[in-house]
């Protein structure tokens, strides 16, 4: 079994200014399913094809942005091993007791060098994807809107880019899959803990701890175009797309949730193995790296974060 250690992005906790507007956006427009609420007013959501109880937590707040992103590790031993890796790197950790988030096991929590909080956990209640595990149907009938399949990755902007990337590679055992470089300086890093083109990405920036986008998988380019229709039908603020990325090859569209947190839905991106070469884009070609067709950087896409 090749896949050990950190398995995948498990959830993202987003701060939202109006919980009802946020639930409408993520459930009715994007097709996530509400699975729980807690006494802090947080709402738990999952995409239809995910088995674990939640992959998005919406937190009522005075500000927008990301509270934390969490990764699921394969075993409890992995959790303690990564805890000591993180400490050995020189980053402080704290333990968050099981059930602080409903249905989630004990978490190891830390703030990475770029100012983002990440949690690791080994256990989360499984509620299933609504399809029997014996003779399963290919898709669930209980999904609306964009029909997002799973929470896939985040792109984050932080102030200590080089250390944050080194931390993910050395302490969390991610591998670099693609990058944008300006001479010796890395501007963007796409990192994978799996065979996905990326499970997280970082862009060099001046402010710590910012969210560029939280991204969700769709099944096809046609589904991306359908998402674009929904964005216009429901008057959702569009950022860029539908288009194709050079980086990761994904077909994509970007828009904002009602609190100004950027979302992406995408399909048909690339894949990798541990022996795949690192793909490099040069800064003088970053227009094409980011938007393969227009080859032009979009100011709002580059400069707007929450």
């Amino acid at each position: 079994m090749a896949m050990t250690g950190i398995l995948r992005p498990g959830h993202v906790q987003l701060r939202v200014l109006d919980i009802d507007e946020a639930v409408t956006h993520y459930c009715d427009n994007m097709g996530l399913i509400e699975t729980d609420r807690d006494d802090q007013g947080r709402v738990y959501l999952k995409c239809w094809d995910e088995h674990d109880k939640f992959s998005v937590v919406l937190e009522p707040s005075d500000s927008s942005g990301m509270n934390h992103m969490a990764f699921k590790v394969r075993t409890e031993q992995d959790l303690w091993r990564f805890e000591s890796n993180v400490k050995n790197f020189g980053v402080e950790t704290t333990r968050i007791p099981a059930e602080e988030l409903n249905g989630c096991g004990e978490r190891v929590s830390f703030v990475a060098p770029g100012g983002h909080r990440f949690d690791l956990y080994a256990e989360k209640e499984s509620v299933g994807n609504g399809i029997p595990t014996t003779n399963p149907a290919p898709w669930s009938e209980d999904t609306v809107g964009m029909k997002a399949i799973r929470f896939d990755h985040c792109l984050l902007y932080g102030d200590d880019h080089d250390e944050e990337v080194r931390f993910f590679v050395e302490a969390l055992e991610f591998e670099l899959s693609e990058q944008v470089v300006d001479g010796e300086m890395q501007i963007a890093a796409f990192l994978s803990c799996s065979t996905k083109a990326h499970d997280i990405a970082f862009i060099r920036h001046g402010e710590p701890g910012k969210l560029h986008h939280a991204s969700f998988l769709l099944g096809s380019w046609e589904q991306v175009l359908r998402a674009a229709d929904i964005i216009s039908m429901k008057d959702i603020p569009l950022d860029v797309g539908p288009t194709r990325h050079g980086l990761t090859r994904g077909m994509t569209i970007y828009y904002f949730d009602p609190s100004g947190n950027r979302n992406e839905v995408f399909a048909e991106d690339s894949y990798r193995y541990p022996d795949s070469p690192v793909l490099t884009w040069t800064a003088d070609n970053s227009g094409q790296a980011i938007f393969y067709h227009s080859r032009t950087l979009v100011e709002s896409f580059m400069g707007v974060v929450s």
């Binding site: 200014l17 109006d18 060099r204 001046g206 904002f256 949730d257 609190s259 100004g260 947190n261 580059m302």
Partner: protein, 103 residues
Amino acid sequence: MTHTITITDTEETFSCRETQHLLAGMMQLGKKGIPVGCRGGGCGVCKIHILCGTYETKKMSRVRITEQEENAGTLLACRVFPKSDIQLQVLGHLNDAVNTTKA
């Protein structure tokens, strides 16, 4: 009800319905002047100062607009709904995140 919004920096004017936020009114008419970002009160690029006029607001991210700023009429254009004609100054700008030599 439709009101006239004037960006005093550029003398650009556009009309905006009471049910629309200022950025939506500006964008619908293809006008420019206030930077456009998330349109949800989260990113801060559409920061403006209202010089005169009455309005209603929706919640704005506190990391972008402090309570004092909000009380003094420094607001995010995507969270302001006009109740009269409005004159405003633009304060926000888009960061050029690609220009990493500044970072």
